[in-house]
């Protein structure tokens, strides 16, 4: 992030900055991370910022919270090119990579109504295999039903 880009967002003392989110995806990222309802952390969100690398992009800053690796792996599904910086005392303390794994464990439900996992009393994990990443295609480990990014966002657990 250049200094001029940085100025669009208030600097934070401690927390996480997610940069290079595809323009317009910031709200989906918040849903994916499950932090939109997290009232404890102030969140700043900048959308459609001109970017030197990718035309336009979104940026999210979450104060007083360092995202876990599990949360970053979820982020990878929507924003595989995102860069993540952990901020401590106004300085970048760590940069983290986001990666797409082979399987999503309890991230989302299967979309097929007759799938065994759609009996809410069945206790085993919801498991979706990542078949393709661009565009994203997921397949239920159990019934084999495919889902795309949009369906994934609507079926988050």
């Amino acid at each position: 992030m250049s200094t001029s880009e940085m100025r669009r967002v208030t600097a934070i003392n401690n927390g996480t900055v997610i940069d290079h989110i595809p323009a317009g995806s910031a709200l989906s990222v918040l849903r994916m991370l499950g932090i939109s309802d997290d009232r404890a952390s102030p969140i700043s969100l900048v959308m459609n910022v001109p970017s030197s690398k990718h035309g336009r992009k979104d940026i999210i800053k979450v104060e007083d919270r360092e995202l876990t690796q599990d949360e970053l792996d979820r982020l990878a599904l929507i924003a595989p090119k995102a860069s993540v910086a952990i901020i401590r005392s106004y300085a970048v303390a760590e940069k983290r990579e986001v990666t797409i794994g082979k399987e999503l464990l309890n991230v989302a439900r299967c979309t097929y109504s007759n799938c065994i996992t759609n009996n809410s009393r069945e206790p085993l994990d919801h498991r979706l295999n990542v078949v393709k990443t661009d565009p994203l295609e997921l397949r239920c480990r159990y019934c084999g039903r495919s889902q795309n990014m949009k369906e994934l966002i609507n079926n988050l657990i």
């Binding site: 065994i116 009996n119 069945e122």
Partner: protein
């Protein structure tokens, strides 16, 4: 294959061929001409959460012919599933009682789910609109028995190709052995486009038509299926295609001598009884072959070698 059979994708072509070889060696045992108690002391759980007398009996016969024993889930209406027990809990209990289980369930994905819940081998006996791999194994066995090979045959699949999981799974398996496939159905019941494009992309030769009778002289196998009334929104739609394909002995005069007619049974009127007496009829043997295919599968999953296996 690592311990369970959930879909045909769990088996390589080599594993399929080796299993069919095992099944062939077990024919005299399945006929009751030889007693070979390879699975003595083993207990099969027949977990049929929806009725399928034919498949359940075939698993049971296979286990008993090999000297093992069987416990059945019992009538689904009075079983614990109706009282709200999860599949997970039921299967965990069975896991402790038995050595291997066959599962039939109305919900798709149930077999993989049960396999994840259990240590014992799980055989998928049909899960919703999903997979039914032991049916495919017995179909492949029947075809190989008649033709001495699977590779490079021309197979016509006829009737309800849209909803029949049997023909979906068989098409994928035959394509793996480089068979040429002819899909014959009325338009409303044609093979799902995803399956046709999957098969075409992987290099299979596929023809789609609604004309059964012109295909007869060219094929090595005719696989008939039943057109089910409950697939149609109303009686008029059903009436348009009901009885569209009725194979008679007279139709088969143009067929190759070694061509076989198969059907997963029960039939309605797709195959006239006068076909039964022709050399082409193979559907009753096909049903019987379910026993040997399942015998070989249970030996394989339980790690039991079949004597004479080197042949």
């Amino acid at each position: 294959m690592d311990g369970d059979l959930i879909t045909m994708d769990d088996m390589t072509n080599e594993e399929i061929v080796s299993l069919l070889d095992d099944a062939e060696r077990l024919l005299p045992v399945a006929h009751g001409e030889e007693f070979l108690p390879l699975l003595q002391g083993k207990l099969l759980a027949n977990m049929f959460f929806e009725p399928s007398t034919r498949t359940r009996m075939s698993f049971e016969t296979a286990m008993k012919r090999l000297g093992g024993d069987v416990v059945n889930l019992g009538d689904v209406k009075s079983s614990s599933a109706v009282k709200g027990e999860t599949l997970y809990d039921t299967m965990r209990m069975v896991d402790g009682y038995c050595d291997i289980a066959a599962l039939r369930h109305p919900r798709q994905g149930a077999a993989q789910y049960a396999a994840d819940a259990c240590y014992i081998p799980i055989m998928n006996g049909g899960d919703g609109a999903g997979h039914h791999p032991t049916q495919t194994l017995l179909d492949l066995f029947t075809i190989r028995q008649a033709h001495g090979r699977l590779d490079g045959l021309t197979v016509a699949l006829v009737g309800d190709l849209r909803y029949g999981r049997t023909v979906h799974s068989l098409s994928h398996a035959l394509a793996r052995f480089d068979c040429e496939l002819i899909f014959i159905s009325p338009n409303q019941l044609s093979m799902p486009t995803e399956i046709v494009s999957d098969l075409t992309e992987s290099g299979s030769k596929i023809t789609e038509t609604d004309d059964l009778y012109s295909a007869i002289p060219d094929v090595d196998v005719i696989y008939m299926t039943r057109i089910q009334k409950e697939r149609f929104p109303d009686d008029d739609e059903y009436a348009k295609v009901a009885g569209i394909y009725k194979l008679t002995a007279a139709d088969l005069t143009a067929a190759k001598g070694e061509m076989i007619v198969m059907h997963p049974l029960p039939r309605v009127d797709e195959i006239s009884p006068d076909v039964d007496a022709t050399r082409h009829a193979r559907y009753f043997e096909q049903a019987f072959n379910g026993v040997v295919a399942r015998m070989a599968l249970m030996c394989k999953l339980l790690g039991v070698d079949i004597p004479g296996g080197a042949a």
